[in-house]
């Protein structure tokens, strides 16, 4: 097989890059919508952890991925209500409340794992679904069209969210609330309801992201996400609050991660350099932020609670 070596490696690397990107993309898309309405949710990672666990637990007990994903998303939605309640109703400082949710998720997810599962049994990780026709394309097929269904969903959601934000009246309302809540309020748009909606949506997506992450490896462990949620938030800035920008960021991150992991395990990267190579994704993301951050303006009311009568 050595003559196919590079070809096999390249396709496999891209394929897994697309797969790695999926959870980041899902979480980042959700966060994008939330931030467009002016709410900064830093609890994503904690939410992903708790959803990942609930997904794992259900999938383990029922043997159904689908059910696991549904419950994972519900978990996200519930935590979304909590987040919205803190940021919108209680006007809590969004930086801190997010950290709180993160730490809560970090502790509680493993606590529940130890209590209700203990022995780390793997749930069968997601089977790949070949897209009829497309999957048989040379190179492209194995790279993009032999993925599991959650990956397809993640990437289909990109145009969906873009369409929602830019083409629908609801999207316009979200943007208005994020840029000038007072103006939205003055034409009878409920800032509170809008933000609750976007935050709950965002956290549901975080739940989906957590479930995806879980099902990709088929196993839960303490701090499974390893800050994936924070990286997702970074990717929102990276993508300048635009769905396709966020997708680009996620793919970049996925590719770098995949290259490092794959080439390391195939010995293309020597073990001695492996650790340093592993810093690449984070380093590249930060540098990307350095280059991009100045360029784009964030939603004007991002992180600020709205008070009527101002």
């Amino acid at each position: 097989m050595s003559q196919f070596f590079t070809y096999a490696v390249i396709t496999a690397t891209i394929a897994s890059a697309v797969q790695y990107a999926a959870p980041f993309l899902l979480a980042a898309l959700g966060e994008t919508v939330g931030q467009r309405s002016g709410v900064l949710n830093l609890g994503v990672d904690g939410i992903m952890l708790l959803s990942a666990f609930s997904c794992y637990f259900v999938a383990l007990r029922t043997g159904s991925d689908l059910l696991g994903v549904v419950v994972g998303m519900l978990t996200g939605a519930v935590l979304g209500l909590l987040t919205a309640f803190m940021s919108v109703t209680l006007r809590a400082q969004q930086g801190i409340s997010g950290i709180g949710v993160y730490i809560l998720g970090l502790g509680l997810s493993d606590l529940l794992f130890v209590r209700f599962v203990g022995t780390p049994l793997p749930v069968s990780s997601l089977p790949n679904v070949s897209v009829p026709g497309l999957s048989r394309l040379p190179a492209l097929g194995p790279m993009f069209f032999q993925q599991n269904w959650l990956v397809y969903i993640a990437f289909l959601l990109v145009p969906a969210v873009a369409f929602f934000l830019y083409r629908t009246t609801y999207g316009t309302r979200v943007l208005a609330v994020g840029e000038n809540p007072a103006a939205a309020d003055s034409v009878g748009i409920s800032v509170t309801r809008t933000r609750y909606a976007t935050v709950v949506f965002g956290c549901t997506m975080a739940g989906l992201a957590g479930s995806t992450l879980l099902l990709l490896d088929g196993i839960f462990q303490e701090n499974l996400t390893q800050s994936a949620g924070f990286i997702a938030v970074a990717l929102v800035y990276f993508g300048a609050w635009r769905p396709f920008g966020v997708m680009t960021g996620s793919l970049l991150y996925g590719v770098v991660t995949a290259v490092v992991l794959q080439w390391k395990s195939l010995g293309i990267i020597p073990t001695s350099a492996a650790d340093l190579a592993a810093t690449a994704p984070a380093v590249i993301t930060v540098l990307a932020l350095v280059v991009l951050a100045g360029r784009f303006k964030q939603p004007s009311s991002l992180g600020k609670a709205y008070v009527r009568g101002a």
Partner: protein, 534 residues
């Protein structure tokens, strides 16, 4: 428009009876009656804080009245929210624009409304309707333009079109002309009159007596939350209105005696400054302020004044040109350096830029001197006693009314905050004193006090440069007036020999051929006009 005969014929379009609105500590509206008839323009007139906006916020559902009733077209109504108000055909053009800068005109106009295409936007239809409206009311705007690209005047028009688009029968305009050039004001009034002629009722809030008398049919004067009177606009003079507003006879503040100017202390040469969006906001301004002078920069906001201030103060690096204080080049230096070189600066936005709200009076008084050796013992530790001592002096010297030195300035009144800032800036004994909007939104006595301080400072040989949108203030305080228009100084005048009309023209970009002396008639109106500020 919804000027349906049935409504027009029915008695008053709006009837507010005994409206009382109390905010903790303030009685903003005290048993106020107010009504609007179809086809009339009814002005609300009064000092800052008189309760005009509050009354209208009650009408628009932003606040709920503690007591009182509202009837629309004879039917009593409850207005729980702006949404409800809109549904009842009430429109409001707020004191601060309620537009989303990143969206287009059409999107702003249709924001929050049902779309004919269900969840999808139907911008083409909206755009068509906007074109129609701007056509018939002479309110020129591009439906597809993004709002942030529009001039202040255009944004104003968008607000009106928004109301028209929503087919409001009753339109409230809260200080709509504060930011317009005389020319734009005329266009606005034309549009409003047309609306009135179609049976729409309008409420017009303004501090400008001339406009109130010019536009409205009836005037209701509020003072400290109470209704003083409701009169036919035709039957009162400016003086009478002014006196109703403040409740006593106004004697005019005497104009600044012309000082003998000394040597130039501030000189700006060919200054070019970019605005936030990268466009040139200041396009080659050159000016000079001599010791003992008070130079006033007049102009409608948004013509580059702010960028000019910031460039001089070292908060915005200029693209070109030079700024000299007593001959020392400061263009592009950081604000700290500029201050050390002898510039005192009172920023336009008091709460945001002038003070740290959570800081105590004492802390705010040392805000600009955290490196002042007099307040520090090496290595850089504060000498709190010295800090407090200095604060005590300043508070006394500038008559800052505060419970204590430890009170957070957040809790001080606007006038006292302004006095505190002036005190802090003058304490550094600046060579050049730059003051933006010295008395905006400040009550009579405080404003007087600040004006006197400015004169005293000039008399000491400081070069004073004030920037104000309030023409009357500029003309009262300055020894020399410069007019800024679209980033340039397009004219200069001696306030004692120029009419405000002449300067008003310049503000609109029309350069007057030499300012002619104005004595005799016309001055009277100005006397009243001064009352608005002073």
């Amino acid at each position: 428009m919804a000027g349906t005969p049935e409504v027009a014929s029915a008695g008053p379009l709006l009837e507010m009876r005994g409206i009382t609105k109390r905010f903790p500590g303030v009685l903003a509206n005290d048993n106020v009656d107010f009504d609007v008839r179809p086809g009339e323009v009814h002005a609300l007139f009064g000092e800052n804080g008189a309760g005009k906006s509050t009354l209208m916020h009650v009408l628009y559902g932003i606040h709920q009245p503690d007591r009182g009733t509202i009837a629309l077209g004879g039917r009593p109504v409850r207005i729980p929210s702006p949404a409800a108000a809109i549904a009842m055909g009430i429109g409001m053009v707020h004191q601060h624009f309620m537009l989303v800068p990143t969206l287009t005109v059409a999107e702003n106009v249709s924001l929050g409304l049902k779309s004919s295409r269900g969840p999808l936007k139907d911008l083409s239809r909206v755009a068509a309707r906007v074109e129609e409206l701007s056509e018939s009311y002479g309110l020129r705007v591009h439906p597809s333009a993004k709002v942030w690209q529009l001039s202040v005047g255009e944004r104003q028009r968008v607000e009106i079109i928004k109301a028209l688009y929503r087919e409001s029968r009753l339109l409230v305009l809260d200080e709509p002309t504060a930011v317009l050039t005389p020319g734009e004001v005329d266009e606005l009034f034309a549009a409003l009159r047309k609306m009135a002629s179609e049976g729409c009722g309008l409420v017009f809030i303004s501090h400008k007596i001339r406009e109130v008398l010019g536009l409205s049919d009836r005037v209701t004067v509020l003072r400290a939350g109470r209704r003083v009177a409701t009169v036919q606009a035709g039957e009162v003079s400016g003086e009478q209105l002014a006196e109703m507003m403040v409740g006593r006879h106004i004697n005019r503040e005497d104009l600044t005696a012309s000082a003998v100017p000394g040597r130039a202390r501030l000189s700006v040469k060919g200054l070019v400054v970019r605005g936030d969006r990268g466009t040139e906001a200041v396009r080659g301004v050159s000016l000079e302020v001599r010791a003992g002078e008070i130079v006033g920069i007049a102009g409608v906001s948004g013509n580059g004044q702010r960028e000019l201030e910031e460039a001089i103060a070292g908060l915005r690096p200029p693209a070109q040109g030079s700024v000299l204080v007593d001959g020392a080049e400061l263009a592009g230096r950081p604000s700290g350096a500029v201050r050390r070189a002898g510039l005192g600066y009172v920023p336009e936005e008091r709460m945001r830029h002038g003070v740290v709200g959570e800081f105590s009076v004492a802390e705010n008084l040392m805000l600009a001197s955290s490196n002042d050796p007099a307040l520090l013992r090496r290595p850089g530790f504060l000498r709190r006693r010295a800090v407090r001592a200095r604060a005590r002096e300043l508070v006394a010297a500038f008559d800052v009314r505060t419970p204590s030195l430890a009170t957070p300035v957040r809790n001080l009144s606007g006038g006292n905050i302004q006095k505190l800032i002036v005190a802090r800036e003058l304490a550094a004994q600046p060579k050049v004193f730059l003051v933006a909007q010295p008395t905006r939104g400040i009550d009579v006595t405080a404003a007087r006090y600040i004006h006197e301080r400015l004169r005293a400072e000039a008399a000491k040989g400081t070069a004073v440069l004030i920037v104000s949108e309030d023409l009357d203030e500029v003309m009262t305080v300055s020894t020399r007036v410069l007019v800024m228009y679209e980033g340039r100084v397009i004219g200069e005048a001696d306030p004692r020999h120029t009419t405000r009309e002449a300067i008003g023209l310049m503000m609109a970009g029309v350069v007057a051929a030499g300012a002619e002396p104005a004595r005799g008639p016309g001055r009277e109106l100005e006397a009243a006009a001064d009352a608005e500020v002073v």
